[in-house]
């Protein structure tokens, strides 16, 4: 097990170098001089261009800049934005918000998705089963920005149940609406997975045995059926959590959640190259780590799964 984790972490190293290199080269090698963007329609004097290129190390050759950047990153310094803010501070500020949003979304998925999936699975082919299938299909087929705008318009502006955007400090109550929108996206998978898993588990001998020894439905369903159906669902949720914490850019933008995705969106709009590269790099690392964690989780949930050397 330990050897497996070490091996996976080692595999993460080339992923890290590869992705930083690709992102770095994509952002820095796009044609044109970022200094000119700072002046809008005005044309800066050559002295100004030269001074700013030097200030932001834009005059060094590409590889020099890449290695300078790598050196900084390995020392834990993610650089500064053009506005002079430390990217470390930005991430320290925005990550907790995104994490809370992702957590809330996963909890909503878990509670609603598993409940609906369980009932559908137990009453296979019934009205509830068919309606839930239809509704989840409808939601999953909608692009996220449509879902977000519609939810914001109906529940935020027309009905006034929630604030249309997230306020200062991102209180939990403001995060509910964006979390529901985010949860909606993966909900269909959770429902279907739970449903299929419940149907499969229900046909097992140990379930018939449990009923046979006179246990009530109230005991058999949660303890014998649900518990054994949760393995695929949990791993799916974990994977989704990974996707959510590396940025629900669109949803965060629409609801103005002060999270990582939002920050990245603003940085791209501003053309703040150091910030873009650093944030994306961190997101790549987080994603790699989350995936390793999921793989380890399989073994914990189901002892039959063994990792070979």
């Amino acid at each position: 097990m330990l050897w497996y984790i070490v091996r996976r972490l080692l595999q993460g190293i080339p992923v890290f170098f590869g992705s930083t290199f690709i992102i770095f080269s994509m952002v820095f090698l796009t044609p044109g001089n970022p200094v000119l963007r700072m002046f809008g329609d005005r044309t800066p004097a050559p002295e100004q261009v030269a001074a700013l290129e030097e200030k932001f190390h834009l005059n060094e050759p590409f590889l020099t800049r890449y290695f300078l950047y790598l050196g900084d990153i390995l020392q834990g310094n993610l650089g500064t934005t053009y506005a002079g803010q430390s990217v470390n501070e930005i991430l320290a500020r925005t990550f907790p918000t995104t994490l809370r949003l992702a957590l809330l979304a996963v909890i909503i998925q878990l509670v609603i998705g598993v409940l609906v999936g369980l009932i559908s699975g137990l009453r296979k082919g019934g009205i509830f089963d068919n309606v839930s299938l239809l509704v989840t299909l409808l939601i999953i087929s909608m692009p996220v920005f449509v879902l977000a705008f519609v939810a914001q318009w109906i529940f935020g502006i027309q009905l006034g149940w929630f604030r249309p955007t997230v306020g200062a400090g991102a209180p939990w109550s403001d995060l509910i609406l964006p979390a529901i929108v985010l949860a909606g996206l993966n909900m269909a998978y959770v429902v279907r997975l739970t449903r299929a898993s419940v149907i499969e588990t229900s046909q097992n001998d140990f379930v018939r045995m449990a009923y046979g020894k006179g246990l009530s439905r109230g005991r058999v369903i949660p303890v014998h059926i649900l518990r054994n159906s949760m393995i695929p669902v949990t791993t799916n949720l974990a994977a989704d959590f990974g996707i959510l914490i590396v940025g629900a850019t669109v949803t965060e933008g629409i609801f103005n959640v002060p999270g990582v995705g939002n920050e990245l969106f603003k940085a791209i709009n501003r053309g703040d190259t150091p910030e873009i590269v650093s944030i994306v790099t961190i997101l790549v690392i987080v994603y790699v780590l989350v995936n390793i964690a999921i793989d380890v989780l399989y073994g914990v949930l189901d002892p039959r799964i063994r990792y070979v050397k």
Partner: protein, 541 residues
């Protein structure tokens, strides 16, 4: 120039004067006079692109905050006229040497006095280094004696006479010098700035109507200001403070406006343009702004050189564009066709009086005729290309414009997209672009001299066409030295006559501000620069 929120996006939308009035009308008419309200006004905002240092702030978000935290020598009223703020008088006999007198007993919000030194040191510092984004002001926008791009310490010819008097020496006579002094770069700085500019950029200390609140600037979320009781100037705060809220998108800000979670926005998102007047009613604002849109052909572009053929072809292109229909259809009537090289909100606007201004009229027959005359000199071949940046929402009007040219002249004309703004500007800057390209200007200060000087004077920084005309340069210099705005405009409009003959750029249309405010606030007015005049907004608690 001020860079708008999305630097590359074209300005806004313009409409008739009637709507300007309705947009400015407020529910209650109690401005000023001790009836100050106590509510905190929430303002839609974006994270500034640079530290909050006057010499380094050239975009709208940082600019709005600094404008409310600092008092320059002069300030601008909504209509673009100016009046004294920190200065008592700014006078000159020869328009070269200016004497500035400050009002007595002014202080910064940290209690230190505002003296001549506060201005002189700030200006010397701003002119000292080419990596400061506003350094160009002392060289290109207003030629100060001693200002160069090489910078260096104390290069400007500024002399402190006493605590409230200092003199400024310019490079050439400039009668409209005081008009420019309301811009951010001319704000004074307290001594504490020079100890630690970085800390200052995070928590500036000013002498204006507001100061930073205790919460101050929460990066990524908000920046809040409270009234500065020490400020005694004409822009006294009429509300309990300003809370600038960061929005990633204009859509999010607009959604909050509809539910009164934000009080003032300065841009309506494009997808709400069709409905915002219904959504907001009286609270919808649409008024002309000081934005000029055009496209430019450098004189090195084949067939558009500095000769008879080039002149004919430029005039033909101008006649070939149906500006009225494009502003109507593409911009839903929210922009107005350009009639000159300045802006209708800037004093002196009078295109009808200028000889040759009918070159702006849509006249396909005339266009064809001029094009044929040019063909007789040197036959046309190839395709007319109009370059634009694809990240700025320009494709629609570019396509409409080239179609208009194509249909009028019977030649091939296409839009030439560049992936992003910096890509386009780099080729323009290097003079390697082989096409016409979109250009625009947002006025830095309300004077025709700003745009004419920056874009068309020989050798000036933003003269992307490399236009050079002795007559225009001479008239421009004369205009600068004219003692009154009326006399100046008369000469500038004569100079514009030369531009109509040569067409270094093809004017397209004027921009506008489309904005709105919540049900909780009153007395919301937008200035000539498209910014809401925040210190006048009232809000009850």
């Amino acid at each position: 120039m001020r860079i708008s929120r999305i630097a590359a996006a074209a300005g806004g939308v313009v409409i008739a004067a009637a709507l300007v009035l309705s947009g400015c009308a407020s529910d209650s008419g109690d401005t000023g006079g001790g009836s100050a309200s106590t509510g905190v006004v929430n303002v839609a905002w974006g994270e500034p692109e640079n530290p909050l240092i006057p010499a380094n702030t050239n975009e709208v978000n940082g600019g709005q905050v600094l404008n409310n935290m600092f008092a320059g020598l002069v300030y601008y009223k909504a209509d673009g006229s100016w009046d004294y703020d920190a200065a008592e008088s700014i006078e000159s006999d020869d328009y070269i040497t200016w004497t500035v007198k400050l009002k007595a007993d002014q202080t910064f919000s940290d209690g230190t006095p505002v003296t001549s030194d506060s201005f002189v040191k700030a200006w010397q510092w701003a002119a000292s280094n080419p990596d400061l984004l506003n350094q160009w002001w002392f060289i290109d926008a207003i030629a100060f004696k001693g200002g160069t791009y090489d910078g260096g310490e104390n290069t400007l010819d500024l002399t402190v006479v006493d605590d409230t008097t200092f003199t400024v020496v310019l490079d050439q006579p400039r009668a409209d010098f005081p008009v420019a002094l309301g811009y951010t770069v001319f704000f004074p700085l307290p001594d504490s700035f020079f100890d630690d500019p970085d800390a200052f950029g995070d928590a500036p200390i000013g002498n204006g109507p507001y100061k930073l609140s205790d919460e101050g600037w929460v990066h990524g979320e908000s920046l809040s200001l409270v009234p500065n009781d020490g400020y005694t100037g004409p822009r006294k705060a009429q509300n309990g403070g300003l809370n600038f809220k960061v929005y990633a998108t204009q859509d999010a800000a607009y959604a909050d406006l509809l539910s009164d979670n934000v009080d003032v926005i300065d841009t309506v998102p494009t997808n709400a343009l069709a409905t915002f007047k219904d959504d907001l009613g009286d609270r919808a604002v649409e008024q002309a702004s000081a934005v000029f849109q055009s496209f430019t052909m450098n004189y090195n572009l084949e067939h558009f050189g500095d000769n008879e053929e080039g002149k004919l072809r430029r005039a033909a292109i101008s006649h070939a564009i149906d500006r009225a229909e494009i502003t109507d259809v593409i911009f839903q009537g929210t922009r107005t066709p350009a009639e000159d090289f300045t802006s209708p909100v800037i004093a002196g606007f009078d295109p009808a009086s200028i000889e040759g201004s009918d070159v702006m009229k849509y006249d396909p027959a005339m266009a064809k005729d001029l094009w044929a005359q040019a063909d007789a000199i040197s036959p046309w071949s190839g395709t007319f290309q109009l370059a634009y940046n694809a990240d700025g929402g320009h494709q629609e009007w570019v396509d409409a414009t080239v179609n208009s040219i194509k249909n009028s002249l019977g030649i091939d004309a296409v839009g030439l997209p560049y992936p992003d703004f910096k890509g386009l500007r780099t080729e323009v800057n290097d003079r390697t672009i082989k096409a016409a390209f979109r250009t625009g200007w947002q006025f830095d200060f309300p004077s025709q001299a700003n745009i004419l000087g920056a874009l068309y004077v020989t050798g000036s920084g933003s003269n992307d066409a490399d236009y050079s005309n002795e007559n225009f340069d001479k008239l421009f210099r004369e205009g600068l030295a004219a003692p009154t705005q009326e006399e100046q405009s008369k000469i500038f409009n004569e100079a514009q006559g030369q531009l109509f003959t040569d067409l270094p750029a093809i004017p397209l249309w004027y921009g506008a501000v489309t904005a709105g405010y919540s049900t909780l606030v009153d007395n919301v007015e937008y200035g000539w620069d498209s910014w809401p005049i925040l210190y006048n907004v009232t809000k009850s608690e």
